[in-house]
């Protein structure tokens, strides 16, 4: 059996999720219709609305505030461009350690004439609040995350919204990597828009939700029918939505506690390998599923390939592994060197990860790092 520690990339769907989806693929294959729809319309509508209610309840929102989209990238685009187009001008801020979908959406707005700014972060990946505050002049939106996808930093959203709302700007939160692991209450977070995705919580791929606080206006990316209130016209992916709803129902925060314990064990084991350092914070300020360390003198793609061939998978911030041949912008932004980025690996746990797997993963990685350091120019020392 392969040890799968790439759950921040995607998760294995829960069998119960698949069971629900099959029903809507095989038998109830309709799509939601209008008020006087036929039986197929009606079954689909019920499934979609039930999922919407369940998701809304989980984040303490109203079902009216939930819009289904195809994935987190679409949610990022809809939230950021939708707000910018609706406001027509102004400044859009984000941070240096967002996912590419957010960074590139904001960069696109810059091409289109909006002012933009990327806020810096500290060495553990926390948003630099002073930098944020001093660049909020004419701001319409700050797009950031709740839990960082790569190094697991959980942002202090209360401090952020106070600063952002003080300047009458809106706050968009990418909660995709935190959702299901960290309790989220949109009222308490006082967030205006927020995205959560299905495939990171053992739900199907191809579905995500955008929370839009009641009263917030944004322009759609696509023009079409009036589905999803016209904010997101087009086909409703009923089986995926039903599966997403089921995955949300299955969220159990006791899993997070167990994951956090295993996360800390894995961090401690990996740090026992000489010349290894942790990226991101420790403790409650870190996502319970996230481990990210940098090994000196070796490169991530080599580590990955060796481990893959020995039955252990995860991901790396090395340039060699990226399609653009660029090292991780997150590791660089927290002050890491190029070598820190090339030698960084992210291991992400799931509710199914066992202690035995954690120990085995450590043993494989230690062995591989030692082997590669023998080949390394530095021979394991600098």
């Amino acid at each position: 059996m392969v040890i799968y520690l790439d759950n921040a990339n995607t998760t294995k769907p829960d069998p119960e999720v698949i069971k629900v989806m099959l029903e809507y693929l095989q038998e109830k294959y309709g799509i939601p219709g209008g008020e006087f729809g036929h039986i197929f319309d009606e079954e689909a509508r019920e499934a979609v609305e039930e999922a919407r209610e369940r998701i809304a309840k989980r984040i303490n929102a109203s079902p009216d505030e939930i819009i289904f989209v195809s994935d987190e990238t679409e949610a990022d685009n809809l939230a950021i461009k939708g707000i910018a187009w609706s406001k027509e001008k102004g400044k859009v801020l984000t941070s240096k350690i967002e996912r590419k979908a957010i960074l590139n959406t904001v960069r696109r707005l810059k091409d289109w004439g909006f002012d933009t700014y990327e806020v810096s972060v500290d060495r553990e990946g926390f948003i630099n609040l002073e930098d944020l505050q001093s660049n909020l002049e004419d701001a319409i939106l700050f797009a950031t995350h709740l839990g960082n996808f790569e190094i697991g930093t959980i942002q202090d959203i209360k401090a952020i919204y106070e600063i952002v709302h003080d300047k009458d700007a809106l706050l968009y939160l990418d909660a995709n990597h935190a959702f299901g692991k960290v309790k989220i209450d949109v009222k308490k977070l006082d967030v205006d828009l927020m995205s959560i995705t299905s495939h990171l919580i053992h739900g199907p791929k191809g579905i995500a939700a955008l929370y839009i606080r009641d009263g917030i206006k944004l322009k759609p990316l696509f023009d079409g029918d009036v589905r999803e209130k016209g904010i997101r016209p087009g086909m409703i992916n009923v089986p995926a939505i039903a599966g997403f709803g089921k995955a949300v129902e299955l969220i159990n925060y006791d899993d997070s506690k167990r994951m956090a314990r295993l996360r800390d064990k894995l961090i401690d084991l990996l740090l026992s390998i000489p010349d290894t350092k942790l990226n991101g914070p420790r403790g409650d300020k870190r996502l319970p599923d996230n481990v990210n360390v940098s090994f000196a003198y070796v490169e991530g793609e080599s580590i990955l390939l060796h481990c893959d061939l020995r039955g252990l998978v995860f991901s790396t911030g090395s340039a060699c592994y990226s399609q653009e041949l660029l090292p991780s912008h997150v590791i660089r932004a927290i002050g890491g060197s190029f070598e820190d980025a090339h030698g960084s690996v992210r291991l992400s746990l799931s509710k199914w990860t066992t202690e035995d797997e954690i120990v085995k993963a450590y043993e494989i990685i230690r062995n591989v790092v030692e082997k590669l350091r023998e080949i390394s120019i530095y021979g394991g020392k600098k």
Binding site: Y297, V298, E299, E301, S302, L305, H306, D308, L309, R310, G311, S318, A319, C320, Y321, Q323, L325, P327, S337, F338, E339, H342, E374, I375, S376, I377, Y378, G379
Partner: protein, 216 residues
Amino acid sequence: MERFDARRWDEKKRIGYSRKVLQYFLHPKNVGEMENPSVTAKAGSPACGDMIKLYLKIENDRITDAKFRSYGCAANIATASVLTEMIKGKTVEEAKKIKFRDIVEELGGLPQIKYHCAVLAAEGLKQALAKWDVIQGRRKIDEKFVKLILAAVIDPLTGESVLKGDKYRGCKIEGKKVKIMLNIPKDSLEAEAFEEQIREAFEGLDVDLEIEFVES
């Protein structure tokens, strides 16, 4: 323990690395340092995640032994290792004819995105042999030689040689004095990476090296 089985490897199924690349990656030949090498060469930098060091033993103009160390991905390790195999037993003149495509071919192909690893290995070899000629007194240090060395000095921000674009301003050579001028701000991140790489590349040559950056 390892899932990799060379006999049953499906070349088309995965990641684009050939069977031979994986074999050299998993069980690299000629790893390590050499005592009293005739010449060494270093190409690339840890900053760009791609670096090799070659150690050659040359006797009667024939390469009798070759070793390497590397820092980089699977393709980096495999290209460096296969290159050492390719040159062992060859004369210096024969080895000079090796191009990066020969290395790619020897490995049974490389993914396009990894060609630069083979280029780096070929540049490293070219550099080592040019240095050998200088040590032998058959070649003098001129701008052509300096450029050959700089071809394997990599900008960590772009992954390209320092010769690309307008970073290289020129060089002055007087006797043992070699002065390389770069259009790179003195206290930038890259300056340090360039200086380290260039100094290491000239290692083993009897020169008085100076690198001039521009004021920031």
